[in-house]
Amino acid sequence: MTVKQISVFLENRYGQLHEITNILAQAGINLTALNIAETKDYGIVRILVDDVAKATDVLIGAGCVVSVNPVQVIAVPNKSGGLNDTLEKIADANIDIEYMYSTVDGVNGEAKLVFKVDKPELLEKTV
């Protein structure tokens, strides 16, 4: 399933991540996934939320640098070898994974994972 992910620029200093979660909390937004990619000086926080439009608005309003882009959410069996099987299919289909991380809202013995790949349509068909 394709969903919209919000990325926020994060300067590497005390309290920066909290500033962002605070802005979202004040607006009553719930996070369903969070991932941080970092360098020594700065990072990128990637999040999935229940209300993308509202979250984007409040973040930009608070002066954050924000980028919204599509990612794929894939359900994976939450058991030994579950992820391994999925990744094998992705590798066999020659799909390049740019990054991936997991969400917190898996149900029914499934884990939901977020994928950013070079061929999103192929990924949907493959898994």
Binding site: Q5, S7, F9, L10, E11, Q16, A37, E38, T39, D41, Y42, I44, R46, G63, C64, V65, V66, S67, N69, E98, K116
Partner: protein, 432 residues
């Protein structure tokens, strides 16, 4: 729309201008010799007496005046009129050492206002305009100069001073300001704020006069785009009078020097030899009809070129190209001359904001250069690799421009303090 504030003077044939300069200069040098003992001693010490000066062509016999001379003169030593004749002081920011105080008689204020009125007209203003002055008021010459020039021209003048952006924007929209005068960094900030608040359709600005800071052509384009105006440069320094020593016309290929009031020379900053026209060197000014605080051959530390050429605007005043930066602003890092304006040009060219900070330090006896740059939405993606790649591109562009390595730090937007007066761009932590 009028073309000139004082047509006869601004378009005077060069020969006639030269003889006017000569006449005024001879009076000025006599005034200095007779009424300023410190100055006379300085001239005598360099072996010149009044008799040696027969015309303005003898100016090169006279000693130079430096900022240090003026600092030492604090508070009253260089005053050439009795205090009872003086009506105002202005002062430099005094970031290094003692402040320099400039004195003005009524005549001196009048002359300065006239220069600023010429600049306003050259930027397209006439008495129907609403002039919004967001330079600082007080000891700083920016506010007082453009305020005075605007009065002289007969414009409705808004003495806003700097800061309180909400009030600036409210007055700008409610009163319909048409000409904005402030530092270029504040103009950029106001532009940003206007666009953020969606006020672009509500402002009536048509032109801006921006000075007191070095700024690049790229920054000019940026300001013109964000405010939807034509941006004009203005030049001046407290020691000479204030803003309006020279100003840009619609041709925008240099700033016309008000030569009926100020005589300009370009000298080699090392040998102090006068350089022929068209060569780059240090700009030196002599006032031609100041009463309280005349300056003879004042070294500005500004590196630039003078151009004598016919201008499409019709003014005959010589033009100075935008100084490459005041040698005061110039940093020597690892033995290389670095001007903040060079860094600014690269940032804008690469699509970043002109708001930046340069931090120089010395680690293990070697200079380090760090540049803090604000992340912008245009440059940001979810892909760390792409962001890092853009950062790398910026580092190589800086290296190509400066010849030395600069470590770039991408910081959160708005985290670099916006300046309301002169921007603090450089933090030099070296203890030399």
């Amino acid at each position: 729309m009028q073309n000139y504030f004082q047509k006869e003077i601004e378009t005077m044939p060069r020969e006639k201008l030269k003889s006017l300069q000569n006449e005024k200069f001879m009076k000025q040098i006599k005034h200095v010799w007779n009424d300023c003992p410190d100055y006379r001693r300085k001239m005598e010490a360099s072996g010149v007496s009044l008799e040696d000066i027969k015309s303005i062509d003898d100016i090169s016999k006279l000693p130079f005046l430096t900022k240090d001379d003026l600092r030492e003169a604090y508070p009253y030593a260089m005053l050439a009129k009795p205090l009872s004749e003086c009506v105002r002081i202005q002062s430099t920011s005094g970031t290094t050492g003692k402040r320099v105080i400039a004195y003005y008689t009524k005549h001196d204020i009048d002359l300065w206002d006239e220069c600023c009125a010429r600049a306003l007209v050259a930027a397209g203003a006439d008495k129907n305009d609403v002039v919004h002055v967001s330079y600082g008021f007080g000891l700083f010459t920016g506010g007082a100069g453009l305020n005075g020039g605007s009065h002289k021209l007969g414009c409705l003048t808004l003495p806003m001073s700097s800061g309180n952006t909400d009030r600036q924007l409210q007055f700008m929209t409610d009163l319909g300001s048409t000409i904005l005068c402030c530092t270029p960094s504040y103009a950029a900030y106001l532009g940003e704020s206007i666009n953020e608040r969606g006020l672009r359709d509500k402002i009536k600005l048509k032109a801006g006069i921006f000075g007191a800071e070095a700024w690049s052509e790229e920054m000019r384009k940026d300001i013109e785009k964000s405010l939807g105006i034509k941006a004009y440069d203005i030049y001046g320094l407290t020691e000479i009078s204030g803003p309006g020593v020279s100003f840009e016309c619609s041709e925008q290929t240099g700033m016309h020097i008000n030569e009926d009031h100020f005589y300009a020379e370009i000298v080699d900053p090392d040998t102090l030899e006068v350089l022929p026209e068209g060569e780059e060197g240090e700009l030196v000014f002599t006032s031609l009809d100041k009463e309280a605080f005349p300056v003879i051959r004042y070294r500005t530390k500004d590196i630039c070129v003078l151009k004598k050429c016919e201008c499409s605007c019709g003014r005959t005043f010589i033009k100075m190209v935008k100084p490459r930066g005041r040698s005061d602003d110039m940093l020597i890092i690892k033995g290389v001359n670095v001007f903040p304006s060079q860094i600014e040009a690269v940032l804008i060219e690469q699509g970043y904001q002109a708001n930046y900070q340069i931090i120089v330090d010395r680690v293990n006896n070697s200079d380090t250069l760090d540049v803090n740059v604000e992340m912008t939405p245009d440059k940001f993606t979810d892909n760390l690799g792409e962001v890092a790649e853009m950062e790398k591109k910026l580092v190589s562009a800086l290296k190509a421009m400066l010849g030395i390595y600069a470590k770039v730090h991408l910081v959160a937007p708005k985290s670099i303090v916006r300046s309301e007066g002169k921007a603090v761009r450089i933090i030099d932590n070296r203890k030399i």
